[in-house]
């Protein structure tokens, strides 16, 4: 499976950051504030710390098997039969995540901007780009990230600057008014979405040309992404207040609607929604790339490319039927997904690491 498709460490950093920002940027502030109210920003800090610890674990696992992907070393650790089964489970995890990401995008567009457009049409168009992108391989995705990452960070910076005049620090008081419990319970789903999903990036991790810097790039990418989410959560609370943040599903989109400077900079939310299309695009394309890669490696295929189009079609159908409505999706994201992600994002890596240590592989 010698695919000569390497990426640079700095590109991996950008990919990790975009993966974290991904869909989380539109959903996370609302989910956090629903539980932790004005302390949502503390929850996001807690989440970020936990995320960094998790990434430390992933890096330890990935560095133990340099040049091998998650699926490859799972097979090595667990043996042929169990290894194939575990690899298949990784595939299901990636696949379900991909369809949820796509559905999140579709729901966001159909409930805030393109109301009368059928969600199928949005999915089809967005997915076609993703399938084509995946077909071109990960180094092309990384180079695309080179172009878009500065744009995302720049627009995000502009976004913060435009909101500075609306900040109201009374909104975060009282700090820890209800104690630490709601803060922690809010950060739990946040750790699941997006940090526990990062384990899948171990499929791309070995493709980094400079294995020594890869771990550092992973950590710093997580830090950048987590910081962006922390800042957006803090901004939502500071500008709109905890109550409004909690009741809006897409709080950061509502936040963008608040921008009004003078008479001429206003109604810019559609431009800012552009950032999200870019970040969601990267999350989706990475997830989909990982999905087809895990499947092809599970089945010992020499190339993942023949799988892209058929998997894309299956994904298109699954993204529609995975949830009957938005409400279901939200409660799935907050109540079911964290535990599901915990199994794959914490339990499995720990077990793999443990077994590898006992069986003294590498």
């Amino acid at each position: 499976m010698a695919e000569n498709d390497p990426i640079q460490a700095y590109q991996f950093k950008k990919l990790a950051a975009l993966f974290i920002i991904g869909t989380s940027i539109i959903l996370v502030p609302g989910l956090l504030a629903a539980e932790a109210k004005q302390d949502a920003w503390i929850s996001s800090l807690v989440g970020l710390l936990a995320g960094l610890l998790l990434v430390g674990l992933y890096v330890a696992l990935g560095s133990r098997f340099p040049g091998r992907t998650l699926v490859e070393f799972s097979k090595e650790i667990c043996g042929r039969w169990l290894g194939t089964f575990v690899s298949f489970l990784w595939f299901t995890y990636a696949f379900i995540l991909t369809s949820l990401v796509l559905r999140n995008l579709g729901d966001f567009l159909t409930s805030s901007m393109l109301v009368e457009t059928p969600i199928q049409a949005i999915h089809l168009i967005y997915l076609s780009i993703v399938v084509i992108g995946v077909y071109y391989g990960v180094s092309n995705i990384a180079r695309t990230a080179d172009i878009f990452f500065p744009l995302v960070i720049a627009l995000f910076g502009v976004f913060i600057l435009l909101l500075v005049q609306d900040l109201d620090f009374k909104n975060v008081q009282p700090v820890l008014g209800k104690g630490i419990t709601p803060v922690l319970s809010a950060s739990f789903p946040f750790i699941g979405f997006p940090f526990l999903e990062l384990v899948l990036l171990l499929m791309i991790f070995p493709k980094v040309k400079q294995p020594k810097q890869a771990g550092k790039a992973f950590l710093s990418g997580t830090l950048i992404g987590g910081t962006v989410l922390f800042v957006i959560t803090l901004l939502c609370i500071l500008v709109m207040g905890a109550e409004n943040t909690a009741s809006e599903i897409y709080s950061s989109f509502e936040l963008a609607k608040k921008i009004e400077i003078g008479e001429f900079i206003q109604r810019v939310e559609a431009i800012l929604a552009g950032i999200w299309f870019v970040t969601i695009f990267f999350k989706l394309i990475l997830c989909f790339y990982i999905t087809v890669l895990t499947l092809s490696q599970t089945l010992n295929l020499s190339d993942y490319r023949p799988l892209t189009l058929p998997m894309g079609m299956i994904l298109y159908a699954v993204s529609i039927i995975i949830a009957p409505n938005l409400s279901y999706l939200i409660s799935f994201d907050t109540k079911v997904w964290p535990f599901y992600a915990l199994t794959f994002g914490l339990l499995f890596p720990l077990m793999l690491l443990g077994v590898a240590a006992i069986r003294k592989k590498r």
Partner: protein, 388 residues
């Protein structure tokens, strides 16, 4: 020779009077034809403000038939009347009760009429009254009427935008009866004919659509109210989008609203013991748009409750339309007969002549499947956030 060959029957635009709406009323034994004509001087939008003339003018003549009356109209008009631009035909209720067949032959035969105008009934009044009202937003009342009919049938759904060819085929068909939308002059009817009507912000007299007229053959037999009209339109798949108002189960005076974005209907026939049963299947997709009572839409149970309420609401309105046409009018406006004919042509031949009786005893089952996809931007309803 080549240059003049196309000009045998040449008519210059400024020799024509363009009719945009026709009205037909019964006057004793005769028909009263009212033609709403464009007033070219008033319509041409030149700078220099509004023209003192009315945008349209009304010519009226009476005669034994429509063709005779319209030719006779030249005794009041200076120009020959051109009907290729007609947008609306309004039939007086009294005329419609006696049968609209009298005018349909001419309307479908004459080469100058196109088939793209709508037909409505002047409910409880005469067609000529409807044609005399000044309307805001649109300069000509005819285009107000046709645009408003199109829009309301698409986004509200209690009206039916029926074009002349659809009316004709429904009247001819044995397995389907016709319906037409009613139009009424609301408010102060006296002032409608005065330009002052549109000089006010709240127009004292306006045209509005109200209910569907049920036909039996070519005769109007009665009306459906708004709920029944919507129910009828669901079955015909004519509602593109509408709003459904529901009462909160715990507090009846507070409301929930669902906006339907897409609907799809299907009528199926099955035979049991030589009796047909009609199955109406309707699928709708919608959005939760309003909740006056405490609701948290982040909970899937809230959505499924709303889906059930929507389903029973739609089902009730369809059933009320079915019951009324079965029991009161005995008129198969749904086209069940056509559905039977398509599936069981032999059975249809045996009941065709007696279809009205069969129709009024036929068993109709309505299955509605409502999906609510999203609730737009917020999760908790305002009342939930206020914490009562």
């Amino acid at each position: 020779m080549a240059l003049v060959s196309g000009c045998w029957n040449r008519r210059e635009l400024n020799d024509l009077a363009v009719a945009v709406a026709l009205g037909v009323d019964q006057k004793g034994n005769k028909l009263l034809l009212s033609n709403q004509m464009l007033n070219p001087g008033a319509i041409a939008g030149k700078e220099g403000g509004a023209s003192p003339l009315a945008p349209v003018t009304l010519f009226q003549t009476s005669g034994g038939g429509l063709q005779e009356a319209s030719r006779k109209m030249t005794i009041v008009s200076t120009r020959k009347i051109y009907v290729g631009q007609v947008q609306m035909i309004i039939l007086g209720e009294e005329f419609a009760r006696k049968g609209v067949g009298k005018v349909l032959d001419y309307l479908s035969r004459d080469h100058e009429y196109r088939k793209d105008f709508y037909v409505v009934i002047a409910r409880g009044s005469e067609a000529q009254d409807v044609l005399k009202v000044f309307t805001p937003l649109e300069k000509t009342p005819a285009s107000k009427m046709s645009t408003s009919l199109e829009t309301s049938s698409k986004v509200w759904g209690s009206t039916a935008a029926i074009k002349i060819d659809e009316l004709i085929s429904a009247i001819i068909s044995k397995g389907k009866e016709a319906v037409l939308t009613g139009i009424v002059v609301a408010g102060d009817t006296g002032i409608g004919n005065d330009k002052k009507n549109v000089e006010k912000i709240l127009v004292p007299s306006s045209l509005k659509y109200s209910g569907l007229a049920v036909f039996k053959k070519d005769k109007l037999v009665g009306w459906l109210n708004e709920k029944e009209s919507k129910g009828y339109n669901y079955t015909q798949g004519k509602i593109k989008s509408t709003t459904i108002l529901l009462a909160c189960p715990e507090e009846k005076n507070k409301k929930l609203a669902v906006e339907l974005l897409r609907t799809k209907s299907e009528t199926k026939v099955t035979m049991k013991e030589n009796k047909p049963t009609i199955l109406i299947k309707l699928k709708t997709e919608g959005v939760a748009t309003d909740a006056q009572c405490a609701r948290d839409f982040a909970k899937p149970a809230t959505i499924s409750e709303l889906e059930h309420l929507t389903q029973s609401n739609i089902k009730a309105s369809i059933m009320s339309a079915v019951k009324k046409t079965q029991n009161v009018y005995k008129s198969d406006i749904f086209g069940f007969g056509e559905a039977v004919e398509r599936k069981y042509p032999r059975y249809w031949e045996s009941v065709k002549s007696d279809w009205d009786q069969v129709f009024s005893n036929i068993q109709v089952i309505v299955q509605v499947e409502s999906k609510i996809n999203t609730m737009f931007k917020t999760t908790k309803s305002f009342s939930e956030r206020m914490g009562k």
